[in-house]
């Protein structure tokens, strides 16, 4: 089995195709086949049901036609003017009727007995030696009323037709025959199955059995059933047709055989197709692989694969050749590329160092800026506090003390001057001295606060300047030098201011 061997770890193309295509295809074909078979069986069975029903109708029509034919024969005899005249003329009855009746046969029913009887059923003539009559038969009274009589039994079928003259019934012509005569109707022999005739009581009148139906009658009953059809003109008689299942299912078996054959042919075609396709596909691939292997072994990138075969292979070969060409081109420029990469790498390293240095500087400057900014942030409350000290507490206290003094002087003018040595006088004197002291303290503190504010403003200006010039590396060193100075001044000023404030508060 060439092509079925595995290559490497995978299956061969043929095996993979067989596994991936043939198996599902077989399943699909089987499923479709079974579905088609089921549909076909149902369709065929329905069609067969209709056909068997039509056959039953056809059988009923055939027997009805024959019965009609016999009845018509009886009517024709009854209407024959010789027959009518023979009711009247005894000479004709004696001379002409016997030979007439002896020669009287119904075509196809030679055994049928034809009788002529008078108005009371007494025999007049017959084509049979046993010329019995129908005296006192109840049915004969109906015939004498002008009605056709048909009686059906397993033993005999009787059709009686009135003989009428001037609209009056004066006798009857009766045809009698055994139901078995219908077995000889050639048309009934063509049906493959059991044909049964039943009378109104369901009694079997006769049966025509085709040989296959006997042995398969049960199956026929089970599968196809029986088909009944009353005779159109003789409603007391029913044709029952039980089709022979062998014959009936010949079509289905033929269909099954056809389906199986078609399935096998389909599978074989598919298998052949797969194998042939694998062969067609794998052969150029093998050549292609061998060529690639050779090129690989020779490392000769100048080599090329022949562009031949089906268009897909030509396309692949062309693509491979282009790949080889590209590969060769790539090999040549690789050394140049490596040199350039080296140069670029060196340049990159240099640039990287420079970049690191600059980044360090920039980071330091950034850090310095951040520190100065933070210092500035710290200076802001000091500045505010200094302003508050400058404008608020001591001044308000002095002013308040002055207002108290003025109120006191006003009260004194109203109430009279306190006496010397009195307690009021003592308090007033102490208050005056306190006011004087506060004025002095206030003056001194104003001086210190102004000095402090000047220093803070100087630091603040310096910081603003440093921040604005922070990105400039050249300013960095100057700032670094300024920082300790500013820091010392601020520290001193702050300490002084804090001491003064504590003192004032006390």
């Amino acid at each position: 089995m060439a092509g079925m061997e595995t290559t490497g770890k995978g299956l061969s193309l043929r095996s993979r195709t067989l596994l991936q295509v043939l198996l599902p295809a077989v399943l699909v074909i089987l499923a479709v086949g079974l579905w088609v078979r089921a549909v076909a069986h149902r369709t065929v069975q329905e069609e067969m049901g209709r056909r068997q029903s039509l056959h039953a109708k056809h059988i009923a029509d055939i027997i009805d036609t024959q019965m009609d034919f016999i009845a018509a024969a009886a009517v024709n005899v009854a209407r024959n003017d010789l027959i009518v005249n023979s009711l009247i003329d005894l000479t004709a009855r004696e001379i002409y009727l016997p030979p007439f009746f002896n020669s009287l046969k119904i075509p196809g029913f030679p055994e049928a007995i034809i009788r002529m009887t008078d108005y009371r059923g007494r025999p007049i003539a017959s084509n049979n030696w046993n010329n019995t009559g129908y005296q006192d038969q109840p049915w004969y009274a109906e015939v004498m009323k002008g009605h056709r009589h048909i009686s059906v039994s397993p033993e005999i079928i009787r059709i009686a037709t009135p003989i009428q003259y001037f609209g009056k019934t004066e006798g009857a012509v009766t045809v009698e025959f055994e139901p078995e005569v219908f077995r000889r109707i050639p048309a009934l022999q063509s049906f493959s199955g059991r044909i049964t005739m039943e009378d109104g009581q369901g009694r079997r009148l006769f049966a025509v059995d085709a040989s296959p139906s006997e042995k398969s009658a049960g199956r026929a009953d089970a599968v196809l059933g029986t088909y009944r059809h009353a005779l159109p003109h003789f409603s007391d008689i029913t044709a029952v047709y039980t089709p022979a299942v062998d014959a009936a299912f010949t079509q289905l078996e033929g269909l099954d055989n056809f389906m199986i054959g078609a399935l096998v042919v389909n599978l074989l075609s598919l298998l052949s197709g797969v194998l042939l396709n694998a062969r067609i596909v794998s052969a150029p691939l093998k050549r292609f692989a061998a060529r690639i292997t050779a090129i690989t072994a020779s490392k000769n990138l100048n080599a090329a694969i022949d562009e031949e075969g089906p268009s897909e292979y030509r396309t692949v070969a062309r693509a491979f050749n282009i790949l080889l060409a590209e590969l060769q081109t790539s090999t040549i420029s690789r050394q140049q590329l490596e040199h350039i990469i080296k140069e670029k790498t060196t340049a990159l390293e240099t640039a990287q160092h420079e970049l690191v240095r600059k980044a360090f500087q920039a980071g330091r400057a950034q850090l310095s800026g951040m520190i100065l900014h933070n210092i500035g942030n710290l200076m802001t409350p000091l500045k505010v506090h200094g302003d508050q000290l400058k404008s608020h507490d001591a001044l308000k206290l002095v002013c308040h003390g002055k207002s108290i003094l003025r109120e006191l002087f006003k009260a004194q003018k109203t109430t009279g001057a306190p006496t010397e040595g009195s307690r009021e006088m003592q308090l007033l004197t102490d208050l005056k001295r306190l006011m004087t002291f506060l004025n002095k303290v206030e003056t001194r503190r104003k001086q210190q606060i102004n000095k402090l504010n000047d220093q803070i403003n100087a630091i603040d200006d310096l910081l603003i300047l440093q921040q604005s010039q922070m990105a400039t590396p050249l300013m960095h060193n100057e700032i670094e030098h300024l920082l300790p100075i500013v820091a010392g001044k601020v520290h001193t000023s702050t300490n002084n201011a804090t001491t003064a404030m504590h003192r004032e508060k006390k």
Partner: protein
Amino acid sequence: MRTLSLTASAVIFLLVTAMPIRSAPSIVIGLDADMSSGSARSGEAIRRGIVLAIEEINRSGGLLGRQLKLVVKDHRGNPARGIDNLAAFGKMQNLAAVVGGLHTPVVMAELPHIHQYRLVFLVPWAAGAAITDNGYSPNFVFRLSVNDSLAGPFLVDEAARRGHRRFGLLLEQTAWGRSNYQSIKSALGVRGLHLANLQWFHWGVSTLADKVSALEAAGADAILLVANAPEGATAIEALAELPPHRRLPVYAHWGITGGRFFDAARENIAKVDLYFLQTFSFLDPPFPARAEHMFQLYQKSFPGVQSQTDVFAPAGTAHAYDLIHLLAQAVAKAGTIERAAVRRTLETLPPMQGLLKHYATPFASGHHDALGMEDFRLARYDRQGAIVPMGKPRAER
């Protein structure tokens, strides 16, 4: 005691007078005829004649002090029915006679049974020669009607008198037809006339065109037709369908008047030169006074009859009427209704004035036909269907 005797006498008188008077049973006259089939009118005509005669007799005290009664049975032209009817009549008590009419085949089939039951059988309408000339002895059949042995020569003579020399015979295939064939053939031979062609037909035949054409093709210059009403209408229809110059004149036996022939062939009758045998007509009766008396009785018994032309099949009625009076004379003379006695007396009846004729010797041993050729006449239908006699019977000429 006297009072007791008077009372007892009164009681006995009352008992006796209160007891129903046991009247003598009626004398039965049977009628066996076609009352409902193709010749039903013949049966009805006969029945009316019998009824009129019985009414007259009963009004005059009846027969032997007993009333007459009619019992009708319908044979529908079917011999089998006629035979069964005779069997019934044969078992009937107080039966004086049976009147049987139309058709010859029926009467012919009944002959053995008539003589088996020894029935006095009176025939007002059936012409077969063998009906009376039947070979039975004693012969119980008496006829007051046409006899074919006379009808044939009469028709041939009448046709010959009108210039016809070559005759075509169209006859029904029955005893009646065969009876006429013999008499006509004989009459033609005696008179040196030619039988151009003979055609038979059956009862119930649907067309006679081929047979009529055969007669015409054979060179017949007149047709002698022996048929009853249904087949007679068929024959006239076949003739009427021929071109006028090919329509042969027809001289028919009187059977066509026994049914609704005129109704069935009214249009065709006008196209064909048709003559037929008759015996009696109220339009030109041999004894007008008797006929007038009879007609008055007829009108009284059968309302709706305005004139004499309304009497259908008058010959049948007149024959039956005279026959019953002849029977009454025989019964009266015999003093019994015993059939053999009546039969014998009928052969020895005194002369009687009848409606048709003066019966000098109505019947005699070996002669059981009351009418002769001299009593025959031809007749035609007028446009209304009335039977119109042509000239006088030979007896009156």
